[in-house]
Amino acid sequence: MRPHSRASRRPVVAGSVYIPDVPRGNQGRSFVVIPENYPFKTYPIEIDEISVKQTGAKRGKNLVALGALVRILNIPKDATQNLAVQKFAKKGKEVLDANLKAFDSGYGAIGADFDFESFHLEATKGGAPDAVISGNQAVALGVIAAGCRYVAGYPITPATSVFEFLMEYLPNLGGTVLQFEDEIASIASCLGASFAGQKVMTPTSGPGLALMGELINLASMVELPLVIVDVQRGGPSTGLPTKTEQSDLAFAVYGAAGECPRAVIEPTTIEDCFYQTIRAFNIAEEYQMPVIVLTDQSMAMRTKNMSIPDFSTIELKERAKIGAGEAEGFARFADTPTGVSKTALPGTAGAMFLATGLEHNEIGAPNYTPLMHQKMMAKRFRKLETLAKALDNEVDNSTCELPAGAAVGIISWGATEGPIREALGFAKKEGMKVAHLQPKVLWPLPVKMIDSFIKPLKKILVFEENFTGQFATLLKTRFDIEPVVITKCQGIPFTAEEVYEAIKKNA
């Protein structure tokens, strides 16, 4: 008997119930070997066998399992059954009946002896219904809500569904969504459209982001707003296209020829994908620079409910443009105290200028004298400082929990938020006090937020789904800390149990 790798290795939290499928001809035992001392009960169901009996094939297994879950979680049976009817009705009465039978018998397979209490889900209490969306759909909805009407891209897993979503929905809002021959053309066309005044974005994943490097430079140099969404996947190279990883951070922050300012944002939940994408457009427009939104495969593909936003409260920003009378003597790249200078869009009389990737002076003419380069580098990087200061004073909904007396704290990023919060729930039950910070903006580093978080702590843990601990490295460049770095580089996200074990070991 071959032990099932996951279940036998995985630490499980007390109170769990494990429901193995008991294959036929296996004398009532599952293939999974459960160590004696594991703190959970098992409740085997003959899923296979029921399916064959009810539907004549193993294909009905999903419905059997669904039936069992609906019973365990106390989800209204009728509602779920209606969904099944919707799904199978078009396949004919025979298929539908077989599947409903499978569903029913799965439901019935959970006996009254099952300990339901701890698993019952509460029904949501009235109010407007939620939308159920994936991380990629949330990003795409954010793109639309932000007012972006030009999208260009090249298909790449796991970002393609962002692109496809926009292809479907943006045209009816007057938008243009174009597939190009590669990522370089995609981002170049975005820059052209941004130059003409549009809010623009391109969706991609690691290999595409790498190809875009030179044009990210250009966006930074000519100060064009641009949003790139990188749905990270396992790398390097073609890597693990359908698996998750958090390994594009270093490239997102530093990847370039020369040094060029950009902001990097990472949503931490599916709902957050929507809001952080809008924020990315606002930063791109206000600071006239590229903004990279990092999500990852695990978040991109997962679906979750989200309440429909109150659109009236969403604030949208646009790049500063010259007004009437300002064309005379207009200096597109004026060296200002914030670093941000007003722009003019094609069509504006008398304000024509040159935007060049060559080093240039304030009006835009090429100029690579020593002091000009120094001055214009400072001008462009000053925007990043201005942004960092603005972020310090912004109320951002990053998770920041600092229980009094906590000596250990976690700083992590992106979708690790889920398993970390779950693990912290376990830890709290055990009486442990652990602090947690999950910043949304990674670059520029939210210095004030991180500084006040780490001050009272003795030990910092950083969880990352990559090999080298890129975020921890980034933190060490700015803060005098030696964090314990816990990395997982397996193409799958951390589990709450893994995080919990690590907390226990380090608390």
Binding site: N172, A188, S194, F195, I308, P346, T356
Partner: protein, 283 residues
């Protein structure tokens, strides 16, 4: 088009060209500004996206909204400009290395999109800016800094490629024939769709294909050539004793802008028209 015509000279920016004396690109600039003047194009309604190279500097010298992009990427940038604002007159300008080497992969796809813009390739058969390396159109056996024993790879034949790609306006010009080139560029700008104007633009520094040697083989496309006939266009392009200059081919098909409007119209009956409506699809 504006009512007040600007003179060709008035389309020049304050930046003086940095090209060598005798460079073929001067003729391109003269013909270009003359064509703008002929068509009364308003400088503020015009965008030039240019590539990197001596020829990529072109955008600096014209009064317009100028975007000097990255090596090989001017064409997709120009497509983005046009897609974002169809009211603009849009150009992409660059060299043979820029357009046929590093950026060569973009041309067939730009042909498929048929964005209404004009792409001018100034072909000097060499990498001029970087001082004399082989380009995709360097003649066979020519000695360059990266072919010290003579070029062994065969050069591309751009016009044949452009015809094969299905580009809706294909022309070849000679930068020392400013009058002929002005006519070609005027027609190219007027063309509704993607027009490509390939230029024989001698470099006086690094490639010794001289203007005189070109004059010996150049002949204007006969007046009675039917521009709508792709077979005839190929015949002219396949002629190997002469290099024809003029407009080889021109057809009218829907442009990118037409296609985008078409998609917007098709989506009307099927999709919600605002963000709330889209969210509600996922309840």
């Amino acid at each position: 088009m504006s009512e007040v015509a600007l003179k060709a000279k008035e389309y020049r920016s304050d930046v003086k060209p940095v090209w060598c004396v005798g460079c073929g690109d001067y003729g391109e600039l003269s013909a270009f500004t003359q064509a703008l003047s002929n068509l009364h194009i308003q400088p503020e309604k015009m965008v030039i996206a240019s590539g990197i190279g001596c020829s990529g500097r072109f955008s600096h010298f014209v009064k317009c909204y100028a975007f000097h992009t990255a090596h090989g990427r001017a064409l997709p940038a120009a497509i983005g400009v046009k897609a974002a604002n169809p009211d603009l007159t849009v150009f992409s300008v660059g060299g043979d290395g820029d357009g046929l080497g590093i950026g060569g992969g973009h041309i067939p796809h730009a042909a498929r999109k048929n964005a209404d813009l004009t792409y001018i390739i100034s072909d000097n058969g060499i990498y001029g800016l970087t001082k004399g390396q082989s380009s995709p159109t360097t003649p066979i056996n020519r000695v360059t800094t990266t072919a010290p024993f003579g070029m062994v790879e065969r050069p591309l034949d751009p016009v044949r490629m452009f015809l094969a790609y299905g580009i809706t306006f294909v022309a070849l010009g000679f930068t020392y024939d400013v009058k002929g080139l002005t006519h070609i560029l005027t027609e190219a700008i007027k063309h509704k769709g993607f027009s490509i104007v390939h230029l024989l633009a001698p470099c006086v520094n690094y490639n010794i294909t001289t203007a005189d040697s070109l004059r010996e083989v150049i002949a204007p496309i006969p007046d009675d050539h039917d521009r709508g006939d792709i077979k005839k266009a190929f015949q002219l392009a396949l002629e190997d004793t002469k290099i024809y200059t003029g407009i080889f081919y021109q057809i009218d098909t829907p442009t990118l802008d037409d296609d985008v409007r078409e998609l917007q119209a098709r989506s009307k009956t099927r999709k919600p028209k605002d963000i709330r409506g889209i969210f509600e699809q996922f309840i």
